[in-house]
Symmetry: C2
Subunit: 383 residues, 2 copies
């Protein structure tokens, strides 16, 4: 069994290395590394050292939003140590002679429209998204056939602790959307959805609920063309998939409190815009709406979007929304590229008499901000 | 919302391209591509064209077991069309100026001890592993705390269709192990475990059962050292994890027929050796044992392994195993590097009077062969 042994051997060598991975500089391997990978390593001041063996490469860069040139050592390893990083989850690529690829040392996360590397920069004292010794729910992968796309599609379903032990209990549902270039895996892998829910439920901050993560790219699955004028078309195709296919499928397969008062919709970035539009235009379906770091509030010439045109009555009859909606929630990172537009939108909504709750979190357009938004949003639901 | 729109736009351009991806040469994108990726493309004769944009690279190769040099076009795209490929699932890498990386156009699969590219080469007329319009079970991701490794670990649990609708029914369980350099995701992603089970159960070829996929790298999680002498130590550490931690956890969280007659163990390659050893040495725990494409039957100097030393009594008291085991199953691909050893082992076992069932499948040391082994093994269980 030489071949196998050799492979096991190599794997375990890495493992042993990683296990004794704490170095004299007190750096430790990122938790987003594959098991056994010693790099990237995070230093106590949150600088990060990246490393890859590429003896024949002419130029190797790290693209972490900002591009860093890596330096080649005589051992053929290229390394770079970045400036201190903002805590959170950051996608990154290694650029090898001009080609942006995933770091072989990193787990992959579907983002940037491909399987991408991601690095978790820990935030001191913040652990709402970290696994604890509390009752754990279940994440289920469910395939369903879509009569809209005529293809098999997938959702992930979070079932809270106790779902199996209470065979007659019916649960409210939150439908949760990803961002552009991501998919239904995002909230589970990058978002730590199940851990955040488990912790909130254990602390009695949130009531037990089911959470469903979807894939918004219906337009891609039906192979329709696309142009920048047809954002609404993109969102409305997903609305039909959600309302006509996904919700009935979930109702059929799980014990659901099946009415608008027990149904919420939320999402991040592109999914924030989608969830805002679907929620506001379909109050008969959703009583709780959340838009996290949505770029949909951006208009032209520094103005916000044309809300009254997009959501007829939102300014002329705010009372209609105020009575129908149990919650309209908007959030943004304080360093988000749409932060100013989101703030303007919130101020305008308030001036117009629209009831809403909102919050801002330190950080840019990234997953740790969206985890915080979910952690802030979920306790407000179904109460 | 320009940034978001731009990203959506790019994603959907790819999508449109992929949708009209059928080209004059009748090639089609591999099903293992990320949605929207036009390459790699499979030709009708199973040659495959790979393609990547790398205008600044000096040398780009495809490593598909065999290495192919790719050719640079004036447009900066490197391409290669391979010889016709054997149907099945094959890991591959792109080698960019000497660095083996995952193809950005491919989904990733944990194999070769990292997130690797994989390509599915379709086998004409074979669809036992393809999704059909039959009742579908559920794949659950479950976190558990291991008192052996003092860390949170993960299993995947396949629940057959009807599990939720039959709240008093107890089910038999198959514990399924991965190969070297893989993890608990292997049988789900590469193996199509749930689809194979759904199809077998729908055709009444297999009885409804629960299947649990594990992670064998306990030795890595506890950070123990390793040397090629200690294969048994590696396997025995996993045996303790499985028997003392995983099985009790599964019994506690699912409706399990909790006795040896309703408990099976099987695995592929390294996991085949592990499952063979654990199953044969613990007949009080497992009545059904399967070893797929195991390298553990290899000995030295062209001989098979020292079976009597590894499994005391297997040759001197075969009747003991014949009465205790409901099934000992061994399989191999006909092009597997251990095929001859496996055949020799099976012949020797038969000569010694050991009862077993076995089968060989066309193909090498790869996942499609292991899907076929599972599809052949599961209908024999718990009957």
């Amino acid at each position: 069994m030489r071949k196998t042994l050799l492979l096991v051997f190599v794997v375990l060598l890495q493992a042993t290395f990683a296990c004794f991975g704490q170095q004299s500089d007190n750096s430790t391997p990122a938790v987003t590394n594959i098991t056994g990978a010693g790099y990237p390593r995070i230093l106590p001041d949150l600088r990060v050292t990246f490393r890859i063996k590429a003896p024949e490469a002419q130029k190797v860069q790290l693209d972490l939003g900002k591009k860093y040139d890596m330096e080649k050592g005589s051992d053929g390893f290229w390394t770079v140590t970045t400036a201190p990083q903002v805590p959170g989850f950051h996608y990154y690529s290694l650029v090898i002679d001009g080609v942006a690829v995933a770091d072989p040392a990193s787990e992959t996360f579907f983002g940037m429209s491909r399987e991408a590397s991601g690095i978790e920069i820990p935030e001191a004292g913040v652990d709402f998204h970290l696994i604890k010794d509390v009752p754990h729910g279940t994440v289920q992968s469910k395939r369903y056939f879509s009569t809209k796309t005529n293809s098999w599609r997938r959702i992930f379903v979070y079932l809270p602790p106790g779902y199996e032990q209470n065979p007659t209990k019916k649960y409210p549902v939150l439908y949760l959307q990803h961002g552009a270039g991501e998919d239904e895996t995002g909230w589970v892998k990058q978002g730590h959805l199940d851990i955040i829910m488990d912790n909130l439920i254990a602390q009695k901050q949130a009531i037990p609920m089911i959470v469903v993560t979807t894939n918004e790219y219906v337009i891609r699955d039906i192979g329709a063309g696309y142009n920048t004028e047809s954002t609404n078309h993109f969102m409305d195709l997903f609305k039909d998939e959600l309302v006509d296919v996904i919700i009935p499928f979930v109702n059929q397969n799980y014990r659901i409190a099946n009415d608008r008062e027990h149904r919420a919709i939320a999402g991040l970035s592109m999914g924030g815009g989608t969830s805002f539009r679907i929620g506001m235009l379909n109050p008969d379906k959703f009583a709780w709406v959340g838009a996290f770091s949505s770029s949909a509030f951006r208009g032209t010439n520094g103005n916000i979007f044309d809300a009254e045109k997009q959501i007829p009555g939102i300014f002329t009859h705010p009372e209609k929304f105020n009575t129908q909606l149990k919650l309209l929630y908007i959030s943004s990172g304080e360093q988000d590229h749409s932060y100013e537009y989101t703030k303007k939108t919130i101020e305008t909504f308030k001036e117009k008499g629209l009831k809403l709750q909102y919050n801002y979190f330190p950080g840019a357009h990234e997953w740790h901000v969206w985890r915080k938004a979910l952690h802030d949003f979920v306790p407000k639901l179904f109460k």
